[in-house]
Symmetry: C2
Subunit: 335 residues, 2 copies
């Protein structure tokens, strides 16, 4: 039998849904006669008003918590859309929380979700919460890591993961600039505790070594925001030996890099060439920017993550082995 | 007494937190002796593992649900940051849901949140849910509307609202283009059921009348996405009488408008001038685009919404009058 809705209860009792709500929540005046009619309709239709009470019985909330460091980054929203297209047909809804790249905030959010308000968690970790995450997984909460690994990668290998081959991608990206003859490279990166930043940075160094260069680029570490890209360019432009090319290790920082180079009156790529890990849609506003970028596939990653989630929630198979999907991406160019 | 944590229970029982979890969730093997030690520690510290069970007693979840039509729009994230900075200090966390501009999806989300999984709701409605929203508010769930009114504005006036003076703003914005001599205007708008689109469009018509023009601009109705801005420009460029200026009624569509004009080889503003309701950060990548925009203040709106939320959650005062805050914004120009 399909679950009764408040509308059906209202129709059965011949009152408005607001009246049904008032009766069930015991708020506002309702005559005894109406109250009785509503409660009879509730009983007849077996209507269950409280999802919290229901979830105690069913042990399901039909909500999946998604914790990401930057909720307005189209990359994470692309992943979410893929997940939603898979889990939505099974009745699950996504609820998003933003850690704002703060391990402390992420820790609070994990605790909130841990307490069984959600059926599973998708996490792009801000770092610093290895223990809490592993203990949460050990407690039986399905957790799928997306984009980012735990800080202690070996210990994290018991967890499901959908990520990218960051080292290889960043190495190819940097190689494009090196092939073009650049030797003074500036690298814009996030915090060192985040695996994507660590791996991508390693990829840049790898490429520099392969091209016979000393692997010691100028580096700016921020928090993966547009503002960080702006600050990085300001720092690089003041350097004694100004870089002729910048590798920016995420899409948000890359927008900041472009904005600040243009604002400072330099030309892209003639004065400073730019390469971005991740597409920057607005880059097309520039005339022939020669902008190299790693073409990410967040939606496809989300589809994979959604598949894994459903398996884990349904407990289809014992989690003997974690599911690990690594996406390998190509370098493209705008203009 | 402060609430006991799982760590304290683990320390008291001299086991790991994972073991405590296994005992409490009855998952995985744990010896009877260890089980007893854990349960003794739980009893001694009065540890309450389930937030759902706790919320049934406390009648608080410390979560505020935020439903917006486009979770990755920096405008809505600006509002959210303001809200969070106010309610966060009181221990409330925000959980975001995206309606993707779909009334059906919004309706499902409202139902999910209605069932008392959150202490309050912040809503930028996709439209079409007037009755559900009013009935939810009548049931005692604090709801603060942000950015957008209900479709039936008169009936919606019992609800708290933080919004902008859209008609006045759009009128001033369009007036800038008209002052510059443009008479063939293209308007890029969202769906007619959304109040911001309706009001802003009315503002454009108002300005046209004031300038003695027939108020019948070319119009494209989309869903407030970047892709819609792109499609609108394609349509306008094929029109018999191509507009010399475009008014785009939200920031996302404005980015699409800029991208597609540039891609088509036209110059901004010489071939086509652009005015945007809402700032487009990437607009600065263009050389002297002469881009008019309404300077919105989402963070300040969020602060106001947060203040209202706390009042309502605390039930500080009877809700005799809805709180209504309308922001009036200025026109600025890039380049």
């Amino acid at each position: 039998m399909a679950k009764a809705t408040i509308k059906e209860v209202a129709a059965e009792a011949e009152v408005s849904t607001a009246t049904v709500s008032r009766v069930l929540n015991d708020s506002g005046y309702v005559s005894d006669e109406i109250k009785e009619r509503v409660m009879e309709a509730v009983a007849k239709l077996n209507y269950q008003p409280s999802a919290i009470a229901r979830s105690l019985k069913q042990d399901k909330t039909f909500m999946i918590g998604v914790i990401v460091p930057d909720i307005s980054n189209p990359y994470f929203m692309g992943i979410s859309r893929g997940i939603e297209d898979v889990v939505g047909v099974e009745g699950f809804q996504l609820m998003f929380c933003s850690s704002d790249e703060s391990p402390e905030k992420e820790s609070r959010l994990l605790q909130l979700l841990q307490e069984k308000r959600v059926d599973a968690i998708v996490l792009a970790t801000a770092g610093g919460n290895d223990e809490a995450i592993r203990s949460l997984a050990a407690s039986g909460m399905p957790i799928v890591l997306v984009d980012r690994k735990l800080e202690d990668e070996a210990a994290g290998q018991t967890l499901d993961l959908v990520a990218e081959d960051n080292t290889e991608g960043a190495s190819r990206l940097a190689a494009k600039l090196l092939e073009d003859g650049h030797v003074r490279i500036g690298v814009v990166n996030g915090p060192a505790r985040v695996s994507t930043g660590r791996e991508r940075y390693a990829g840049v160094l790898k490429a520099m070594k392969e091209f016979g260069l000393e692997p010691n680029p100028l580096v700016y570490n921020g928090a993966f925001t547009t503002e960080d890209g702006i600050r990085a360019v300001r720092k690089f432009l003041q350097a004694d030996s100004r870089p002729t090319a910048i590798v920016s290790l995420n899409n948000r920082m890359s927008l900041g890099v472009l904005l600040e180079i243009v604002r400072s009156g330099w030309r892209i790529p003639d004065d400073i060439a730019v390469a971005s890990f991740g597409e920057v849609e607005a880059g097309s506003l520039l005339k022939n920017p020669g902008l190299y970028y790693i073409d990410q596939h967040p939606y496809d990653m989300g589809i994979k993550a959604g598949d894994i989630l459903l398996k884990r929630i349904r407990k289809e198979e014992p989690q003997l082995e974690p599911a690990v999907e690594i996406f390998r991406n190509e370098v493209n160019r705008i203009g």
